[in-house]
Protein backbone atom coordinates (compact mmCIF):
# COMPACT_ATOMS: atom_id res chain seq x y z
CA UNK A 1 0.00 0.00 0.00
CA UNK A 2 2.68 2.48 1.04
CA UNK A 3 4.68 1.34 -1.95
CA UNK A 4 1.88 2.19 -4.32
CA UNK A 5 1.52 5.58 -2.66
CA UNK A 6 5.21 6.28 -3.00
CA UNK A 7 5.07 5.33 -6.68
CA UNK A 8 2.08 7.56 -7.27
CA UNK A 9 3.76 10.43 -5.44
CA UNK A 10 6.94 9.97 -7.46
CA UNK A 11 4.98 9.91 -10.71
CA UNK A 12 3.14 13.08 -9.71
CA UNK A 13 6.38 14.87 -8.85
CA UNK A 14 7.89 13.86 -12.19
CA UNK A 15 4.78 15.01 -14.02
CA UNK A 16 4.95 18.30 -12.15
CA UNK A 17 8.57 18.82 -13.12
CA UNK A 18 7.80 18.01 -16.72
CA UNK A 19 4.84 20.39 -16.81
CA UNK A 20 6.78 23.21 -15.19
CA UNK A 21 9.63 22.71 -17.64
CA UNK A 22 7.25 22.70 -20.61
CA UNK A 23 5.51 25.81 -19.31
CA UNK A 24 8.94 27.46 -19.12
CA UNK A 25 9.66 26.51 -22.72
CA UNK A 26 6.34 27.89 -23.84
CA UNK A 27 6.84 31.08 -21.90
CA UNK A 28 10.22 31.60 -23.52
CA UNK A 29 8.78 30.95 -26.98
CA UNK A 30 6.04 33.52 -26.43
CA UNK A 31 8.65 36.04 -25.36
CA UNK A 32 10.65 35.20 -28.47
CA UNK A 33 7.60 35.76 -30.68
CA UNK A 34 6.94 39.14 -29.04
CA UNK A 35 10.53 40.25 -29.60
CA UNK A 36 10.53 38.99 -33.19
CA UNK A 37 7.22 40.71 -33.89
CA UNK A 38 8.54 44.00 -32.51
CA UNK A 39 11.64 43.66 -34.69
CA UNK A 40 9.49 42.91 -37.74
CA UNK A 41 7.25 45.92 -37.07
CA UNK A 42 10.32 48.13 -36.72
CA UNK A 43 11.74 46.92 -40.03
CA UNK A 44 8.45 47.33 -41.88
CA UNK A 45 8.05 50.83 -40.54
CA UNK A 46 11.59 51.69 -41.51
CA UNK A 47 11.07 50.40 -45.01
CA UNK A 48 7.87 52.40 -45.44
CA UNK A 49 9.52 55.56 -44.11
CA UNK A 50 12.47 55.35 -46.46
CA UNK A 51 10.12 54.67 -49.37
CA UNK A 52 8.02 57.67 -48.41
CA UNK A 53 11.09 59.88 -48.10
CA UNK A 54 12.26 58.85 -51.54
CA UNK A 55 8.79 59.48 -52.96
CA UNK A 56 8.76 63.04 -51.67
CA UNK A 57 12.39 63.79 -52.51
CA UNK A 58 11.69 64.76 -56.12
CA UNK A 59 14.43 62.49 -57.47
CA UNK A 60 12.01 59.99 -58.98
CA UNK A 61 9.70 60.90 -61.84
CA UNK A 62 6.27 62.25 -60.76
CA UNK A 63 4.29 59.13 -61.67
CA UNK A 64 6.61 56.83 -59.73
CA UNK A 65 6.63 59.30 -56.83
CA UNK A 66 2.85 59.30 -56.51
CA UNK A 67 2.53 55.53 -56.70
CA UNK A 68 5.32 55.00 -54.20
CA UNK A 69 4.01 57.65 -51.84
CA UNK A 70 0.56 56.16 -51.86
CA UNK A 71 1.55 52.56 -51.16
CA UNK A 72 4.11 53.59 -48.53
CA UNK A 73 1.48 55.73 -46.82
CA UNK A 74 -1.07 52.89 -46.99
CA UNK A 75 1.45 50.46 -45.50
CA UNK A 76 2.15 52.77 -42.57
CA UNK A 77 -1.50 53.42 -41.85
CA UNK A 78 -2.81 49.88 -42.37
CA UNK A 79 -4.90 48.24 -39.65
CA UNK A 80 -3.70 44.85 -38.43
CA UNK A 81 -6.04 42.90 -40.72
CA UNK A 82 -4.93 44.74 -43.86
CA UNK A 83 -1.28 44.99 -42.91
CA UNK A 84 -0.04 41.94 -44.82
CA UNK A 85 -1.75 43.06 -48.02
CA UNK A 86 -0.59 46.68 -47.72
CA UNK A 87 3.02 45.66 -47.06
CA UNK A 88 2.93 43.23 -50.00
CA UNK A 89 1.67 46.09 -52.19
CA UNK A 90 4.62 48.18 -51.07
CA UNK A 91 7.05 45.37 -52.00
CA UNK A 92 5.44 45.13 -55.41
CA UNK A 93 5.63 48.88 -55.97
CA UNK A 94 9.26 49.03 -54.88
CA UNK A 95 10.06 46.27 -57.36
CA UNK A 96 8.27 48.16 -60.12
CA UNK A 97 9.89 51.51 -59.35
CA UNK A 98 13.39 50.12 -58.91
CA UNK A 99 13.14 47.55 -61.70
CA UNK A 100 15.95 49.26 -63.62
CA UNK A 101 19.45 49.52 -62.16
CA UNK A 102 19.48 52.98 -63.86
CA UNK A 103 16.86 54.26 -61.42
CA UNK A 104 19.01 53.19 -58.50
CA UNK A 105 21.97 54.89 -60.11
CA UNK A 106 19.96 58.11 -60.62
CA UNK A 107 18.96 58.17 -56.96
CA UNK A 108 22.53 57.51 -55.92
CA UNK A 109 23.77 60.53 -57.88
CA UNK A 110 21.33 62.94 -56.22
CA UNK A 111 22.46 64.83 -53.10
CA UNK A 112 21.90 62.56 -50.09
CA UNK A 113 21.21 59.77 -52.56
CA UNK A 114 23.84 57.24 -51.45
CA UNK A 115 22.47 57.32 -47.90
CA UNK A 116 18.91 56.86 -49.14
CA UNK A 117 19.87 53.92 -51.34
CA UNK A 118 21.85 52.41 -48.47
CA UNK A 119 18.91 52.74 -46.10
CA UNK A 120 16.47 51.27 -48.61
CA UNK A 121 18.83 48.38 -49.42
CA UNK A 122 19.18 47.61 -45.72
CA UNK A 123 15.42 47.86 -45.22
CA UNK A 124 14.45 45.54 -48.08
CA UNK A 125 17.07 43.04 -46.92
CA UNK A 126 16.14 43.14 -43.26
CA UNK A 127 12.38 42.87 -43.75
CA UNK A 128 12.48 39.27 -45.10
CA UNK A 129 15.02 38.38 -42.41
CA UNK A 130 12.84 39.71 -39.62
CA UNK A 131 9.82 37.96 -41.08
CA UNK A 132 11.63 34.61 -41.25
CA UNK A 133 12.79 34.92 -37.64
CA UNK A 134 9.25 35.78 -36.59
CA UNK A 135 7.60 32.95 -38.49
CA UNK A 136 10.23 30.51 -37.25
CA UNK A 137 9.36 31.41 -33.66
CA UNK A 138 5.65 31.12 -34.46
CA UNK A 139 6.13 27.67 -35.95
CA UNK A 140 8.06 26.43 -32.89
CA UNK A 141 5.40 27.77 -30.53
CA UNK A 142 2.57 26.26 -32.55
CA UNK A 143 4.29 22.86 -32.60
CA UNK A 144 4.64 22.92 -28.82
CA UNK A 145 1.11 24.16 -28.23
CA UNK A 146 -0.29 21.27 -30.23
CA UNK A 147 1.19 18.79 -27.75
CA UNK A 148 -1.39 16.97 -25.65
CA UNK A 149 0.11 17.88 -22.27
CA UNK A 150 0.05 21.56 -23.19
CA UNK A 151 -3.58 21.44 -24.30
CA UNK A 152 -4.89 19.29 -21.43
CA UNK A 153 -3.23 21.31 -18.70
CA UNK A 154 -3.81 24.63 -20.51
CA UNK A 155 -0.17 25.58 -20.11
CA UNK A 156 -0.52 28.33 -22.68
CA UNK A 157 -2.96 30.21 -20.46
CA UNK A 158 -4.74 33.02 -22.25
CA UNK A 159 -2.00 33.73 -24.78
CA UNK A 160 -3.57 33.93 -28.26
CA UNK A 161 -2.66 31.20 -30.73
CA UNK A 162 0.32 32.69 -32.61
CA UNK A 163 -0.15 33.54 -36.29
CA UNK A 164 2.54 33.73 -38.95
CA UNK A 165 3.00 36.99 -40.84
CA UNK A 166 2.53 36.21 -44.51
CA UNK A 167 3.50 38.75 -47.13
CA UNK A 168 5.37 39.20 -50.38
CA UNK A 169 8.77 40.54 -49.30
CA UNK A 170 10.78 39.89 -52.44
CA UNK A 171 13.25 42.81 -52.72
CA UNK A 172 13.92 44.66 -56.00
CA UNK A 173 16.70 42.75 -57.77
CA UNK A 174 18.77 45.90 -58.25
CA UNK A 175 18.88 46.47 -54.49
CA UNK A 176 20.12 43.03 -53.40
CA UNK A 177 23.73 42.08 -52.77
CA UNK A 178 23.50 39.67 -55.70
CA UNK A 179 21.93 42.24 -58.01
CA UNK A 180 24.30 45.07 -57.10
CA UNK A 181 27.29 43.13 -58.42
CA UNK A 182 25.66 42.60 -61.79
Amino acid sequence: MTFTLIWIAAALVLLGIYLSWTAGRLDRLHARIDAARAALDAQLLRRASVAQELATSGILDPAASIVLYQTAHAARQAEDEQREVAESDLSQTLRAVFAEPDTVQAVREAPGGPEAVGELTAAVRRTPMARRFHNDAVRAARALRRQRAVRWFRLAGHAPFPLAFEMDDEPPQALTADGASR
Partner: protein, 383 residues
Protein backbone atom coordinates in the same frame (compact mmCIF):
# COMPACT_ATOMS: atom_id res chain seq x y z
CA UNK B 1 28.48 45.25 -29.05
CA UNK B 2 29.69 42.34 -26.87
CA UNK B 3 29.57 39.25 -29.02
CA UNK B 4 30.23 35.65 -27.98
CA UNK B 5 30.91 33.12 -30.71
CA UNK B 6 30.84 29.37 -30.12
CA UNK B 7 33.03 27.17 -32.32
CA UNK B 8 32.11 23.47 -32.20
CA UNK B 9 35.35 22.06 -33.62
CA UNK B 10 38.90 22.01 -32.30
CA UNK B 11 40.65 25.31 -32.84
CA UNK B 12 43.96 23.56 -33.53
CA UNK B 13 42.56 21.50 -36.41
CA UNK B 14 42.19 23.42 -39.68
CA UNK B 15 38.70 23.40 -41.15
CA UNK B 16 36.17 25.52 -42.99
CA UNK B 17 34.04 26.35 -39.97
CA UNK B 18 37.06 27.31 -37.86
CA UNK B 19 38.42 29.61 -40.60
CA UNK B 20 35.01 31.19 -41.01
CA UNK B 21 34.79 31.90 -37.29
CA UNK B 22 38.36 33.25 -37.17
CA UNK B 23 37.70 35.64 -40.05
CA UNK B 24 34.33 36.70 -38.67
CA UNK B 25 35.80 37.38 -35.23
CA UNK B 26 38.67 39.39 -36.67
CA UNK B 27 36.35 41.33 -38.95
CA UNK B 28 34.06 42.22 -36.03
CA UNK B 29 37.00 43.16 -33.80
CA UNK B 30 38.23 45.38 -36.64
CA UNK B 31 34.89 47.18 -36.53
CA UNK B 32 35.38 47.85 -32.81
CA UNK B 33 33.16 45.17 -31.30
CA UNK B 34 34.18 43.09 -28.30
CA UNK B 35 34.38 39.49 -29.41
CA UNK B 36 35.11 36.31 -27.48
CA UNK B 37 35.25 32.89 -29.15
CA UNK B 38 34.67 29.74 -27.13
CA UNK B 39 36.35 26.79 -28.83
CA UNK B 40 37.63 23.34 -27.97
CA UNK B 41 41.40 23.39 -27.75
CA UNK B 42 44.18 21.62 -25.94
CA UNK B 43 45.15 23.62 -22.89
CA UNK B 44 48.72 24.00 -24.14
CA UNK B 45 47.97 25.20 -27.70
CA UNK B 46 48.71 28.88 -28.22
CA UNK B 47 45.45 30.71 -28.90
CA UNK B 48 44.73 34.19 -30.22
CA UNK B 49 43.70 36.65 -27.52
CA UNK B 50 40.01 36.49 -28.35
CA UNK B 51 39.71 32.68 -28.03
CA UNK B 52 38.73 31.00 -24.76
CA UNK B 53 39.42 27.27 -24.47
CA UNK B 54 36.53 25.00 -23.58
CA UNK B 55 38.82 22.08 -22.89
CA UNK B 56 40.10 19.29 -25.04
CA UNK B 57 37.79 17.69 -27.57
CA UNK B 58 37.41 13.93 -27.23
CA UNK B 59 37.50 11.75 -30.35
CA UNK B 60 34.38 9.60 -30.55
CA UNK B 61 32.79 7.72 -33.42
CA UNK B 62 29.85 9.78 -34.64
CA UNK B 63 27.94 9.85 -37.91
CA UNK B 64 30.16 7.36 -39.70
CA UNK B 65 33.49 8.96 -38.88
CA UNK B 66 35.52 9.88 -35.84
CA UNK B 67 34.52 13.33 -34.66
CA UNK B 68 36.22 15.36 -31.98
CA UNK B 69 33.50 16.55 -29.67
CA UNK B 70 33.12 18.29 -26.35
CA UNK B 71 30.71 17.10 -23.72
CA UNK B 72 30.50 16.20 -20.09
CA UNK B 73 30.35 18.18 -16.88
CA UNK B 74 33.66 19.93 -17.29
CA UNK B 75 32.76 21.36 -20.70
CA UNK B 76 29.29 22.33 -19.54
CA UNK B 77 30.79 24.15 -16.56
CA UNK B 78 33.24 26.02 -18.78
CA UNK B 79 30.40 27.05 -21.09
CA UNK B 80 28.45 28.46 -18.16
CA UNK B 81 31.44 30.31 -16.80
CA UNK B 82 32.19 31.79 -20.21
CA UNK B 83 28.58 32.94 -20.54
CA UNK B 84 28.67 34.42 -17.06
CA UNK B 85 32.00 36.24 -17.47
CA UNK B 86 31.30 37.49 -20.98
CA UNK B 87 27.97 39.25 -20.27
CA UNK B 88 27.35 39.15 -24.02
CA UNK B 89 24.70 41.14 -25.86
CA UNK B 90 24.35 38.26 -28.28
CA UNK B 91 25.89 34.83 -28.72
CA UNK B 92 26.44 33.29 -32.11
CA UNK B 93 26.52 29.49 -32.08
CA UNK B 94 27.89 27.56 -35.02
CA UNK B 95 26.47 24.10 -35.74
CA UNK B 96 24.05 24.08 -32.78
CA UNK B 97 22.73 20.66 -33.73
CA UNK B 98 26.07 18.86 -33.44
CA UNK B 99 26.47 17.11 -30.08
CA UNK B 100 29.32 19.33 -29.00
CA UNK B 101 29.88 22.84 -27.66
CA UNK B 102 27.16 24.26 -29.89
CA UNK B 103 24.43 22.20 -28.30
CA UNK B 104 25.87 22.67 -24.80
CA UNK B 105 25.80 26.45 -25.13
CA UNK B 106 22.34 26.40 -26.60
CA UNK B 107 21.22 24.39 -23.61
CA UNK B 108 22.96 26.59 -21.08
CA UNK B 109 22.19 30.08 -22.38
CA UNK B 110 19.18 32.32 -22.51
CA UNK B 111 18.74 35.64 -24.28
CA UNK B 112 19.46 36.61 -27.88
CA UNK B 113 20.99 33.60 -29.64
CA UNK B 114 21.96 33.53 -33.32
CA UNK B 115 22.95 30.22 -34.90
CA UNK B 116 24.63 29.32 -38.15
CA UNK B 117 24.07 25.94 -39.81
CA UNK B 118 27.00 24.99 -42.01
CA UNK B 119 26.51 21.37 -43.00
CA UNK B 120 23.90 19.84 -45.15
CA UNK B 121 23.85 16.18 -44.18
CA UNK B 122 21.27 13.84 -45.55
CA UNK B 123 18.71 13.05 -42.91
CA UNK B 124 20.20 10.58 -40.46
CA UNK B 125 18.46 8.20 -38.14
CA UNK B 126 20.36 9.60 -35.17
CA UNK B 127 18.98 13.05 -35.93
CA UNK B 128 15.41 11.75 -35.99
CA UNK B 129 15.93 9.95 -32.69
CA UNK B 130 17.56 13.01 -31.16
CA UNK B 131 14.83 15.38 -32.32
CA UNK B 132 12.95 15.55 -29.00
CA UNK B 133 16.23 16.30 -27.22
CA UNK B 134 17.35 18.88 -29.76
CA UNK B 135 14.07 20.73 -30.10
CA UNK B 136 13.93 22.39 -26.65
CA UNK B 137 17.50 23.62 -27.12
CA UNK B 138 17.06 24.74 -30.72
CA UNK B 139 13.86 26.64 -30.05
CA UNK B 140 15.85 29.12 -27.94
CA UNK B 141 17.57 30.35 -31.08
CA UNK B 142 16.13 33.69 -32.12
CA UNK B 143 17.68 33.82 -35.55
CA UNK B 144 18.92 31.01 -37.74
CA UNK B 145 21.39 31.49 -40.54
CA UNK B 146 22.17 28.92 -43.24
CA UNK B 147 25.31 29.32 -45.35
CA UNK B 148 23.61 28.37 -48.60
CA UNK B 149 20.17 27.77 -50.02
CA UNK B 150 21.10 24.07 -49.97
CA UNK B 151 22.01 24.12 -46.28
CA UNK B 152 18.77 25.95 -45.59
CA UNK B 153 16.75 23.29 -47.37
CA UNK B 154 18.30 20.49 -45.31
CA UNK B 155 17.68 22.48 -42.15
CA UNK B 156 14.02 22.99 -43.03
CA UNK B 157 13.57 19.31 -43.85
CA UNK B 158 15.35 17.99 -40.75
CA UNK B 159 14.41 20.41 -38.03
CA UNK B 160 11.51 22.45 -39.42
CA UNK B 161 11.35 26.22 -39.15
CA UNK B 162 13.21 28.53 -41.40
CA UNK B 163 16.52 30.35 -41.77
CA UNK B 164 17.95 33.29 -43.67
CA UNK B 165 20.74 32.61 -46.11
CA UNK B 166 23.99 34.49 -45.49
CA UNK B 167 26.96 33.03 -47.36
CA UNK B 168 30.41 32.48 -45.90
CA UNK B 169 32.72 35.44 -46.21
CA UNK B 170 36.03 35.80 -47.99
CA UNK B 171 38.60 38.57 -47.84
CA UNK B 172 38.36 39.24 -51.57
CA UNK B 173 41.19 41.76 -51.71
CA UNK B 174 43.64 39.39 -50.05
CA UNK B 175 43.26 37.08 -53.06
CA UNK B 176 42.79 39.78 -55.68
CA UNK B 177 46.04 41.52 -54.69
CA UNK B 178 48.24 38.41 -54.37
CA UNK B 179 51.35 38.33 -56.55
CA UNK B 180 51.28 35.61 -59.27
CA UNK B 181 54.28 33.24 -59.20
CA UNK B 182 55.98 32.87 -62.62
CA UNK B 183 56.79 29.18 -62.15
CA UNK B 184 53.09 28.45 -61.63
CA UNK B 185 52.06 30.29 -64.76
CA UNK B 186 51.81 29.18 -68.38
CA UNK B 187 48.88 26.91 -69.13
CA UNK B 188 48.33 25.56 -65.64
CA UNK B 189 45.30 23.96 -64.06
CA UNK B 190 44.89 24.31 -60.30
CA UNK B 191 43.41 21.94 -57.72
CA UNK B 192 43.28 22.53 -53.97
CA UNK B 193 42.07 19.92 -51.51
CA UNK B 194 42.97 16.79 -49.60
CA UNK B 195 44.47 14.31 -52.06
CA UNK B 196 43.29 11.22 -50.22
CA UNK B 197 39.72 12.45 -49.70
CA UNK B 198 37.80 10.99 -52.65
CA UNK B 199 34.95 13.48 -52.19
CA UNK B 200 37.31 16.28 -53.18
CA UNK B 201 37.32 14.58 -56.56
CA UNK B 202 40.99 14.37 -57.50
CA UNK B 203 40.49 10.87 -59.03
CA UNK B 204 37.98 12.32 -61.50
CA UNK B 205 40.46 14.97 -62.54
CA UNK B 206 43.20 12.31 -62.89
CA UNK B 207 40.94 10.29 -65.17
CA UNK B 208 40.33 13.37 -67.31
CA UNK B 209 43.98 14.38 -67.45
CA UNK B 210 45.18 12.05 -70.28
CA UNK B 211 42.57 13.50 -72.62
CA UNK B 212 43.45 17.07 -71.66
CA UNK B 213 47.16 16.38 -72.18
CA UNK B 214 46.48 14.70 -75.52
CA UNK B 215 44.84 17.88 -76.79
CA UNK B 216 47.10 20.35 -75.00
CA UNK B 217 50.47 18.73 -74.15
CA UNK B 218 51.86 21.92 -72.57
CA UNK B 219 49.32 21.82 -69.74
CA UNK B 220 50.49 21.30 -66.16
CA UNK B 221 48.37 20.37 -63.18
CA UNK B 222 49.19 22.00 -59.82
CA UNK B 223 47.87 20.09 -56.80
CA UNK B 224 47.92 21.71 -53.36
CA UNK B 225 46.87 19.62 -50.39
CA UNK B 226 48.14 16.83 -48.23
CA UNK B 227 47.89 13.11 -48.99
CA UNK B 228 49.74 10.30 -50.70
CA UNK B 229 51.19 11.69 -53.95
CA UNK B 230 52.34 8.32 -55.31
CA UNK B 231 48.88 6.86 -54.99
CA UNK B 232 47.26 9.87 -56.63
CA UNK B 233 49.18 9.50 -59.89
CA UNK B 234 48.90 5.70 -59.86
CA UNK B 235 46.38 5.56 -62.70
CA UNK B 236 48.34 7.90 -64.98
CA UNK B 237 50.66 6.66 -67.74
CA UNK B 238 54.33 7.03 -66.70
CA UNK B 239 55.02 9.75 -69.29
CA UNK B 240 52.28 12.01 -67.99
CA UNK B 241 53.22 11.94 -64.33
CA UNK B 242 55.75 14.74 -64.71
CA UNK B 243 52.93 17.05 -65.83
CA UNK B 244 51.48 16.87 -62.31
CA UNK B 245 53.16 19.01 -59.70
CA UNK B 246 52.45 18.46 -56.01
CA UNK B 247 52.85 21.49 -53.78
CA UNK B 248 51.88 19.77 -50.53
CA UNK B 249 50.16 21.82 -47.83
CA UNK B 250 50.37 25.48 -48.80
CA UNK B 251 50.16 28.62 -46.67
CA UNK B 252 47.31 31.10 -47.15
CA UNK B 253 49.68 33.39 -49.06
CA UNK B 254 50.81 30.63 -51.39
CA UNK B 255 47.23 29.51 -51.93
CA UNK B 256 46.33 33.04 -53.04
CA UNK B 257 49.41 33.27 -55.28
CA UNK B 258 48.65 29.91 -56.84
CA UNK B 259 45.04 30.90 -57.56
CA UNK B 260 46.32 34.14 -59.08
CA UNK B 261 48.71 32.20 -61.32
CA UNK B 262 46.63 29.38 -62.79
CA UNK B 263 44.72 29.60 -66.07
CA UNK B 264 41.90 27.43 -64.85
CA UNK B 265 40.76 26.28 -61.43
CA UNK B 266 39.04 22.88 -61.39
CA UNK B 267 36.78 21.75 -58.52
CA UNK B 268 35.79 18.15 -59.31
CA UNK B 269 34.16 17.48 -55.91
CA UNK B 270 31.72 14.60 -55.82
CA UNK B 271 29.61 15.67 -52.84
CA UNK B 272 29.63 16.60 -49.20
CA UNK B 273 29.95 20.31 -49.91
CA UNK B 274 27.43 22.68 -48.42
CA UNK B 275 29.04 25.91 -49.56
CA UNK B 276 32.22 25.83 -51.65
CA UNK B 277 34.41 28.54 -50.15
CA UNK B 278 37.31 27.49 -52.38
CA UNK B 279 35.37 28.56 -55.47
CA UNK B 280 34.83 31.99 -53.96
CA UNK B 281 38.54 32.23 -53.21
CA UNK B 282 39.41 31.19 -56.76
CA UNK B 283 37.05 33.78 -58.21
CA UNK B 284 38.46 36.43 -55.86
CA UNK B 285 41.90 35.70 -57.25
CA UNK B 286 40.49 36.03 -60.75
CA UNK B 287 40.85 32.36 -61.64
CA UNK B 288 38.28 31.03 -64.13
CA UNK B 289 36.39 28.21 -62.43
CA UNK B 290 35.31 24.85 -63.82
CA UNK B 291 33.35 22.98 -61.16
CA UNK B 292 31.22 19.87 -60.83
CA UNK B 293 27.52 20.55 -60.90
CA UNK B 294 26.73 20.21 -57.18
CA UNK B 295 23.82 22.19 -55.73
CA UNK B 296 26.13 24.23 -53.53
CA UNK B 297 28.60 24.98 -56.32
CA UNK B 298 25.86 25.92 -58.75
CA UNK B 299 24.60 28.46 -56.26
CA UNK B 300 28.00 29.96 -55.52
CA UNK B 301 28.64 30.28 -59.25
CA UNK B 302 25.42 32.26 -59.66
CA UNK B 303 23.59 29.36 -61.35
CA UNK B 304 26.52 28.75 -63.69
CA UNK B 305 26.87 32.36 -64.87
CA UNK B 306 30.11 33.13 -63.04
CA UNK B 307 31.88 29.86 -63.82
CA UNK B 308 31.41 26.69 -65.84
CA UNK B 309 29.87 23.47 -64.58
CA UNK B 310 30.21 19.84 -65.63
CA UNK B 311 28.20 16.76 -64.55
CA UNK B 312 29.46 15.29 -61.26
CA UNK B 313 32.18 12.60 -61.66
CA UNK B 314 32.01 12.84 -65.46
CA UNK B 315 35.72 12.82 -66.40
CA UNK B 316 34.89 12.87 -70.10
CA UNK B 317 32.86 16.09 -69.79
CA UNK B 318 35.48 17.63 -67.51
CA UNK B 319 38.20 16.97 -70.11
CA UNK B 320 36.12 18.37 -72.96
CA UNK B 321 35.30 21.58 -71.07
CA UNK B 322 38.87 22.04 -69.87
CA UNK B 323 40.31 21.62 -73.36
CA UNK B 324 37.76 24.03 -74.82
CA UNK B 325 38.39 26.66 -72.11
CA UNK B 326 42.18 26.43 -72.25
CA UNK B 327 42.02 27.03 -75.99
CA UNK B 328 39.65 29.97 -75.71
CA UNK B 329 41.49 32.98 -74.22
CA UNK B 330 38.48 35.24 -74.71
CA UNK B 331 36.17 33.02 -72.73
CA UNK B 332 38.75 32.73 -69.95
CA UNK B 333 39.07 36.51 -69.76
CA UNK B 334 35.31 36.80 -69.68
CA UNK B 335 35.08 34.26 -66.83
CA UNK B 336 37.75 36.16 -64.87
CA UNK B 337 35.73 39.33 -65.26
CA UNK B 338 32.36 37.73 -64.37
CA UNK B 339 33.86 35.91 -61.38
CA UNK B 340 35.59 38.98 -59.96
CA UNK B 341 32.39 40.98 -60.17
CA UNK B 342 30.14 38.26 -58.73
CA UNK B 343 32.49 37.56 -55.84
CA UNK B 344 32.04 41.04 -54.27
CA UNK B 345 28.83 39.63 -52.82
CA UNK B 346 30.95 37.32 -50.63
CA UNK B 347 33.36 39.95 -49.37
CA UNK B 348 33.48 40.32 -45.60
CA UNK B 349 32.30 43.92 -45.92
CA UNK B 350 28.97 42.66 -47.31
CA UNK B 351 28.68 39.41 -45.34
CA UNK B 352 29.82 41.02 -42.08
CA UNK B 353 27.25 43.78 -42.44
CA UNK B 354 24.50 41.21 -42.96
CA UNK B 355 25.53 39.19 -39.91
CA UNK B 356 25.70 42.38 -37.84
CA UNK B 357 22.22 43.38 -38.96
CA UNK B 358 20.98 40.01 -37.70
CA UNK B 359 22.67 40.69 -34.35
CA UNK B 360 21.04 44.11 -34.19
CA UNK B 361 17.65 42.69 -35.02
CA UNK B 362 17.72 40.11 -32.20
CA UNK B 363 19.27 42.37 -29.59
CA UNK B 364 16.96 45.35 -30.11
CA UNK B 365 15.24 45.80 -26.79
CA UNK B 366 16.25 42.37 -25.49
CA UNK B 367 18.17 41.66 -22.29
CA UNK B 368 21.71 40.38 -22.62
CA UNK B 369 22.73 36.73 -22.68
CA UNK B 370 22.89 34.97 -19.32
CA UNK B 371 23.30 31.42 -18.11
CA UNK B 372 19.89 29.76 -18.19
CA UNK B 373 19.20 29.04 -14.52
CA UNK B 374 16.19 26.95 -15.30
CA UNK B 375 18.15 24.06 -16.71
CA UNK B 376 19.38 22.85 -13.32
CA UNK B 377 17.05 20.43 -11.58
CA UNK B 378 17.80 22.05 -8.26
CA UNK B 379 16.94 25.46 -9.61
CA UNK B 380 13.70 24.14 -10.99
CA UNK B 381 12.69 22.70 -7.65
CA UNK B 382 13.73 26.00 -6.06
CA UNK B 383 16.08 24.22 -3.65
Amino acid sequence: MRIGIVCPYSWDVPGGVQFHIRDLAEHLIGLGHRVSVLAPADDDTPLPGYVVSAGRAVPVPYNGSVARLNFGFLSAARVRRWLHDGAFDVIHIHEPASPSLGLLSCWAAQGPIVATFHTSNPRSRAMIAAYPILQPALEKISARIAVSEYARRTLVEHLGGDAVVIPNGVDVDFFAKAEPKPQWQGETIGFIGRIDEPRKGLPTLMRALPKILAARPETRLLVAGRGDEEEAVDGLPESMRERVEFLGMVSDEDKARMLRSVDLYVAPNTGGESFGIILVEAMSAGAPVLASDLDAFRQVLDGGAAGELFPVEDAEALATSAVRLLGDRERLAELRELGSRHVRRFDWSTVGAEILSVYEMVTDGAASVAPDERTGLRARLRL
